[in-house]
Amino acid sequence: MTESLLAVRGLTKHFVSGNETVPVIDKLSFTLGQGQSLALTGRSGSGKSTVLNLLCGLELPNAGTIVMHGQVFEAGGAATRQKAAAWATLRRQHIGVVFQEANLMPALSLLENVRFRAQLAGRDAANSEDWLTRLGIGELARRYPDQVSGGQRQRAALAMVFAMEPALILADEPTGSLDRHTADEVIQALFELQARYGCSLILATHDAELAAGCQQHLDLGHLSAL
């Protein structure tokens, strides 16, 4: 295994709704090497999205440690402001996030979206159009997100993520809203580019077939059943 990009130890998260606490993630531990891919599976409500949010700092854990890209994030303690800033920098430069929907700025064309994301990460935006072409939507570069199909939007979202040359891609059911055929095409493109450019990938999905394409496998439904 190559040098580890991400190490998670004892990650715990519970939500408070009303006056009862709902445990979602309980003492989750795993590591992910540079360039490796991990499938996060589990039934709906098992906490896949929650894990991804914790891994990019959009949510803060109740317990546990996350070592990401050389930075250590311990749960609890003060300094939430510094933590949030550190996570924001990581998200801006090294962590690409793709959700099921709404990954594009609605006011920007596809090309502008890709360019914007690259610039935000401090990368060269010159080959933004190439990324769109590589994902097969080069001719739609000047359309706006609401003028293309859902599958095309997800391809554009992938183009955005790759244009920022991330160390880690967090994909939360990126093909959840697509039909089987299109989903396969998009996911193939994702795997192919991820392998070619050597970035790590965590793919949350309830689809066992998609999960099979990943090197590692983590089943949350299984965990919470234990």
């Binding site: 990019c56 959009l58 949030a84 800033a85 996570w87 924001a88 920098t89 990581l90 998200r91 801006r92 430069q93 962590i95 996030v97 709404a102 990954n103 594009l104 700025m105 609605p106 006011a107 920007l108 502008e112 914007f116 994301r117 935000l120 706006y144």
Partner: protein, 503 residues
């Protein structure tokens, strides 16, 4: 930043609406504000122009007593005592000494009236005025215009004397109306701006969430938003102020002419006014209207109140406003009270309607009806601001109406006081004006130089027979204004007309 602005590239109408609103509001407000300050200056000038009487006062600030009068007369200064007394019942009386009136020489006919025995109100003989049991009385010593400061013995100096304390009130009420109008314009602008801006913001909320996911800190987004609105405001406010001054110049011309007509001297104070105040005020309004939430957001956790408390607070505002309106001692308080009522009602109305809609929704079994009522509830809660804006727009219409009517009303009184007559006799509503006319006619026989003039006000009321509201003015000499002024009707031969029933 470019990504943020791109929103407006896709929704140019929103930007245009914002810009146009800022420009128009700035123009309107600057115009009104400009007019207000000019009116203030003009009124100040006119006060000075009209107040030409002078009085002698003690340099040590003490009130004058009879001994002062004696001392001045002994020193050879011709002064006329003027005793203002407010009896326990009835209105202010002025006691004058007919024997001392000759100080004012063979000047106007009006002053010659003073040589005659006085029996009409409000002027009575000095002794009569001193004799009544007065709540309040004050002695003034009037000096003729020819008196110089050097003529006075030590311890006294000259000061202007105004016979009509009401004029200040008129000017004030007029200015207050204008100012209230200005504040209303600002309020409506703020509320409208806010609605449009929040609409755009709601549409951009997804983008903000996305930016957060992209690792842009919310603080940074907020800074961009502040910068964006500041630039927009600055770009729109400056031409707005320019247009507003242009508007004020257009309107001000007419205003100046009206004042010219009144005083036969150019009075309109058309001096310039700084740019900085309007620009800063409008910038402040725009920023507060658009970014108030941002500021509030920081305190939201501490400020969030439970629903019943808020309803209670709104209710309290409403009641306080109503009570204040009832008890308001002066015009500014009425405005504050009305504002309170509107704020309370604006706060309460959507909540109430939403509550009713939810109540209806919970009682209705049909799912479509349930949806409809729920939707209404949500909609109405969002409509708080536009509703308040609407109320303020209504208030503005009322304010303009009030402005016009109170101005007309007070202007009438003002004109009465400012006519060139030194004194005027007002016949109370419902009283017979013939007595006054007879008295005046008698005076005319005794005093050859005296000319008097009848002025009729309130033509509409006059048309209805019965209570004739006729005011009689003793005017000498007859000014061009009296004949020309459109608000008033004047007649050279009033009693002929009256006796023939033309009234």
């Amino acid at each position: 930043m470019r990504a943020l602005l791109s929103h407006y590239r896709r929704h140019p109408l929103q930007l245009v609406a914002l810009a146009v609103m800022i420009v128009l509001a700035t123009m309107l407000w600057t115009g009104v504000n400009h007019l207000t300050s000019q009116a203030r200056a003009s009124l100040g000038q006119s006060e000075r122009a009209v107040t030409e009487r002078q009085q002698v006062v003690r340099s040590d600030g003490q009130t004058l007593v009879i001994e002062d009068f004696v001392a001045l007369r002994l020193a050879g200064v011709c002064v006329m005592p003027w005793l203002e007394a407010t009896p326990e019942t009835g209105s202010r009386l002025v006691g004058i000494d007919p024997l001392a009136a000759h100080c004012f020489g063979a000047g106007t006919g009006a002053s010659q009236v003073l040589d005659q025995p006085l029996d009409g109100k409000p002027f009575v003989d000095m002794h009569a005025a001193a004799g009544i049991s007065a709540r309040e009385s004050r002695l003034y010593l009037l000096a003729p215009e020819t008196t110089q400061a050097t003529d006075l013995p030590g311890g006294y100096h000259l000061k202007t004397f105004s016979t009509s304390p009401d004029t200040g009130e008129l000017g004030d009420s007029f200015l207050l109306n204008l100012e209230a109008l200005g504040v209303l314009v600002l309020l409506i602008t703020a509320l409208l701006l806010r609605s449009v801006y929040l609409l755009g913001l709601a549409q951009r909320r997804d983008s903000f969430a996305l930016l957060h996911r992209f690792g842009v800190s919310p603080g940074q987004v907020q800074r961009w938003l502040v910068l964006e609105i500041l630039v927009l405001a600055l770009v729109c406010v400056v031409p707005g102020v320019w247009l507003g001054r242009w508007l004020a110049a257009g309107l001000g011309g007419g205003f100046g002419k009206a004042l010219d007509g009144l005083f036969d001297i150019p009075l309109y104070a058309g001096q310039g006014q700084g740019w900085i105040t309007p620009v800063l005020v409008m910038l402040g309004v725009v920023v507060i209207a658009c970014l108030g939430d941002l500021i509030l957001l920081r305190f939201r956790d501490r400020l969030s109140l439970p629903m019943p408390v808020r309803a209670g607070l709104a209710m309290a505002l409403l009641v306080a406003g109503l009570v204040m309106a009832w008890l308001a001692p002066s015009l500014p308080w009425v405005f504050v009270a009305v504002a309170l009522v509107f704020a309370g009602a604006g706060w309460l109305t959507p909540a109430t309607v939403a509550y009713l809609a939810r109540w209806r929704a919970n009682r209705s079994s049909a799912s479509l009806a349930l949806w409809r009522h729920r939707e209404l509830a949500v909609l109405v809660r969002r409509l708080t601001l536009p509703l308040v804006a609407l109320q303020f727009a209504l208030a503005m219409v009322l304010a303009v109406q009030a402005l016009v009517t109170t101005f007309e009303g007070t202007f009438d009184r003002w004109l009465a006081q400012r006519l060139e007559a030194a004194y005027y006799i007002e016949v109370p509503a419902g009283a017979d004006s013939k007595k006054a006319a007879e008295w005046l006619t008698n005076q005319q026989e005794k005093v050859p130089g005296l000319r008097w003039h009848r002025v009729i006000r309130g033509r509409a009321e006059l048309a209805e027979a019965g209570s004739q509201q006729v005011d009689v003015f003793a005017v000498a000499p007859v000014g061009s204004l009296v004949r020309a002024w459109a608000l008033l009707e004047s007649a050279d031969q009033p009693w002929v007309a009256l006796s023939s029933g033309a009234g």
